[in-house]
Symmetry: C3
């Protein structure tokens, strides 16, 4: 692109549209997002009851179930392992937790919702007056019917979360408090689905698997990642793919610390989270800001025919914080629908099976699939007849009756590919520049290649 200043960068302008046919936005394979969505949703529903955390049995069980769908390698990293500036914490497990009133009735009951106990609470068994107990109770006065989600991973503490309405009904008196948890040396558990491709260069997909019964954040990401991996397994792969199912923060830091030697292979990456709510798709760009993954996702969203949002990198959010820390600076963005903290249900019991939608899950998976198509199909080519246009007509590629000027997308795509295939422009560059879909441009290249009108550029 160096020799063509000003050629890129502009959005698809109305004039370009006016000359060209309507943008061909349909992906090659038309997909029914509802139907796929139902399968993804079924997985979310299956995983919902498990009490996950950044360590422990709930997460281990979650990974075990995913292992039935896709080939997973499970890693157990012992508590106390140093991972960069951090230490793998002790493993947390919980069997039961409740608060009983003086009549022995469970007024707060972990068995009803695992959100009721502050995640990583230390074991407790005591009797305490309401006044003391209150210091350990968390509610959402602005949403009195929702149970908040709270955790205390790195500070020893305990507590309960409950509906504000229920808190208000607690009467004075003594309560029996019980948290049957353990916080002991064990392991941090994570899983990898590694799918080798023609090249060692990798695409890294990462999703956090540490939240308890919350659907959008992040069973949606877990389930979409699992189905994406299943699809990748079934297709020819230029790149190798590595899908990580990890606890947030400590999980990505642990993975990075144990895989420093592999990081150099990562050519593109995507963090998946919050992919099931009814909001529009949001893509948060990598720290690099203009990596191929950023442009691929942006192209998919722009040509989706739906509303979307693309936001700049920020060092808060999900595990892109770690993957995009300055010591790694990986080309890795984050695909979401409504981002964390921007939907009211976030980190509450309202992030439930009702909140996520099969069609949203299916649409998110379809978009991930189109991103993969671009990464796999992108490339630079060299026009083998660069002096003037080749005579497409005698090759049966094109020749409408002269005088007619309504041309199909396919022929515009042929010309764009020929004109910009100078070894500097990738097919994605060409799609962006021509305001055609990547799929049209890729098909044009595929039509020209057998005629030796193009050859792949030497990378």
């Amino acid at each position: 692109m160096d020799d063509t200043p000003g050629l890129f960068g502009a959005e698809c302008s109305t004039d370009k549209i006016a000359y060209a046919p309507a943008m061909n936005t349909l992906p090659t394979t038309v997909i029914h997002p509802e139907r796929i969505g139902e399968e993804v949703y079924a997985l979310v529903r299956e995983l919902f009851p498990l009490c996950r955390s950044i360590t422990g049995a709930g997460t281990r069980e979650t990974l075990s179930r995913l292992g039935k769908l896709i080939p997973l390698t499970i890693y157990e990293v012992p508590s106390g392992t140093k991972v960069f500036d951090w230490t793998v914490p002790r493993e947390w497990n919980i069997r039961d937790a409740y608060v009983k009133n003086s009549r022995g009735v469970r007024v707060i009951d972990f068995q009803k919702s695992n959100l009721h106990v502050v995640n990583y609470s230390v074991p407790v068994r005591m009797r305490t007056p309401l006044q003391e107990l209150r210091k350990h109770l968390h509610t959402l006065p602005e949403h009195p019917d929702w149970i908040p989600f709270r955790a205390s991973y790195y500070t020893e503490s305990w507590g309960f979360c409950l509906r504000h309405r229920d808190l208000e009904e607690l009467t004075e008196g003594e309560y029996e408090v019980c948290i049957e948890s353990t916080l002991e040396d064990g392991a941090l558990t994570y899983a990898e689905c590694y799918l080798p491709g023609e090249h060692e260069d990798e695409v890294l997909i990462s999703t956090h698997v540490c939240h308890p019964s919350l659907c959008n954040d992040n069973l949606s990401g877990v389930a979409v990642a699992a189905f994406l991996a299943a699809r990748l397994q079934a297709r020819r792969r230029k790149y190798s793919y590595r899908c990580l199912f990890i606890p947030t923060t400590i999980g990505s830091i642990t993975w990075l610390a144990r895989n420093e030697d592999k990081v150099g292979r990562i050519r593109h990456g995507l963090v998946l989270a919050c992919l099931g709510d009814p909001g529009r798709s949001t893509y948060k760009k990598s720290r690099q800001g203009n990596a191929e993954i950023d442009r691929a996702v942006a192209h998919v969203l722009k040509t989706s025919g739906e509303e979307y949002e693309i936001v700049g990198f920020t060092p808060y959010g999900y595990d892109e914080r770690q993957f995009c820390s300055p010591g790694f600076n990986l080309p890795m963005g984050c695909l979401m629908r409504t981002p964390n903290g921007r939907f009211a249900e976030y980190h509450t019991s309202a992030d439930s099976l009702e909140f996520v939608r099969p069609e949203a899950l299916g649409d998110s998976l379809t978009k991930c699939g189109r991103v993969v198509e671009i990464l796999e199909g992108n490339g630079r080519y060299v026009n083998q007849n660069p002096q003037g246009e080749p005579q497409l007509g005698r090759r049966g590629l094109y020749w409408p009756p002269a005088g007619q000027h309504q041309l199909p997308t396919e022929e515009f795509a042929l010309w764009w590919v020929l004109n910009l295939s100078d070894g500097n422009h990738s097919l994605l560059d060409i799609a962006e520049h021509s305001c055609l879909s990547f799929e049209s441009v890729r098909r044009a290249a595929d039509a020209l290649l057998p005629h030796n009108l193009l050859r792949p550029a030497i990378e």
Copy 2:
């Protein structure tokens, strides 16, 4: 421009206007476009009846008439000559063509309009029922009074074009079909007007001369190019100029194939087409996108005081397709009024002597003239008193009573030229950056040069 990041690129902002006087948009010589336009229009009218094609007698006759106005060298390239991926086709000539009804009446008659026969139709003489004939008839149902223009240059075929209204009146029965054409070895004819300048570096002007009785596309381009050449002949020229009158596609490919050794001399280029309709001026940028020609034409349009449109390069349109193919990538844009395919009359009998306007032709020629002034007058200079401002007052160049702050454009231009003449900024850069007209900036440089306050930069 390297040492001044951020200096350029912004449009003329309101603040710059607020500080500076009203933009001086008048070219040096005020021109009456209507009067010039009448002369250009007369040439269009003279050339209108000839039946041009990509080869043949009509085109040869057209070039011969242009040769009376400007010095032309005519080239005849034999049929069968290989030109890159293409082959020069056989020569097409036509004497007569018609369809007669059973009463012997010509219901379609080439003598009335050469658009009635599909251009490059093979010879035909037959009787055929209407049903069969219909397969060879072309109309425009949405414009029932217009005859479409059709051609079949590279596929042997024949056909007639007619008003849809006339088609509907044809009764069943047998018709006599006659096309007295020849398609034989001959030559492709094109012409060059070469005007040597002080330097061998060239400005290439190209216009297509292959369309039959159609005015805007492209007798307008042919006539404007001819008058531009006539003007260029009359003036001192820094650059050499080469004006091509060629058939579209095969003509530019042929010229490029025969002149590969000359292409390196082309510093700027312009394709001229559709310059006579009443629409606003449109400039389609070169593939390079920010070449000096692109900036020169943009400056002329921006300072014209009229509406205009500047569009990005696309690999469809006129012969810029060939000149800007990646193997040449010449700095060559296309100046039009309403672009091809965007006016309803395009490629129909409605693109007539009524459709093009003398004042539009004149205005287009004037704009071409201003573009030439910029190309000829542009250059980089070095301020010889770069430390602080020189004292213009004692040189009689400037000194208003201190305290007055309403200054004429000329003095703003002096300051801008002095401030930005660091060897990196051309006068066109300075005009763009200062929001002054190129002409003002050029005059300021001309005022400073005799005082040795500027010297030309070493290129």
Copy 3:
């Protein structure tokens, strides 16, 4: 910034704001602009009556008074000294000037306002009819109650300025004209306040001191510069500061000619003028356009919570014309409120003690102070734990209960500083990119430094 294309340049977008807390726009020390403004205003009032010019006693007396506030070195440059393309003019002094009518009444009286005499008028003593006198009288018909300011520094001339209303009341007859001025070899006087810092690299502040009884242009600039220097004297300084109090044009050219060897030390610079009117702040960028001073002032204005305007460099205005001439091209912009020529009172008696406002003067000084804080506090750092985030929690720097997502500005700032401190991004880069105030970002760096999580980058 080279390795992160596309990272910068965009304005703070709504999405970034949506994720981040409200911008922290308050400077570290909250300042009451009215109170400071009163002090600055008192200095304007003190200096107002003096009849300043580009040379002479009025300017000398002005500098002498400033010398009581700040350490000043006064320079006297003899008339006739060559300074680049210019020559230091003869010194102008004036004792009295008037026009008396036939009854001996002073109808124009220098003692009432020094604007009444054209600055640099040669001595005159004559009797003349009104008709002749008129050629030497200047008024503003559109503002009949205002006296215009006029000067004739480089052309020998004389004249009077008066209210148009008063001109209209002059009756025919003979008038006595007297200008008791001298125009003799002497000196051009200017002053420097040099405040050495830890480094020899300098910040240059320049303000013009040559206008007679006009307040906004430029006693406002003079007084703000003096108070800024007083503050700078009282603080620790990384940079050395040099504040110039000079006559416009000839003063800056003289200083540049005498200090060519020092110019290379100037890292940042600011021309101060028109800082007391009630209009919004305006910053005119340096010729470089994106120098650190340009970005620092822009940041102060953007985070001021008030309206402001940033305009591109133009080679007309104040002494930035000279400092930004191509032979110097210093990174030096101009801070104003309403720019010269854009307020009606400009260069008239209406630019009076009523026109400038204490609160505007105080606000301008506060903004200058924040610019200094940025220049002093800016720097590049290197994250010492670049692989993933460091665990801020165990250092007491941060760890809110997981699940809460409303974070204070300070913690967003910590993350941004860690993420972008790769040695390429300055704290000002980080502030711009994160949409946080420079002060927040600086405080975050100060919090991280004692924990060895950052080290200064090697410059």
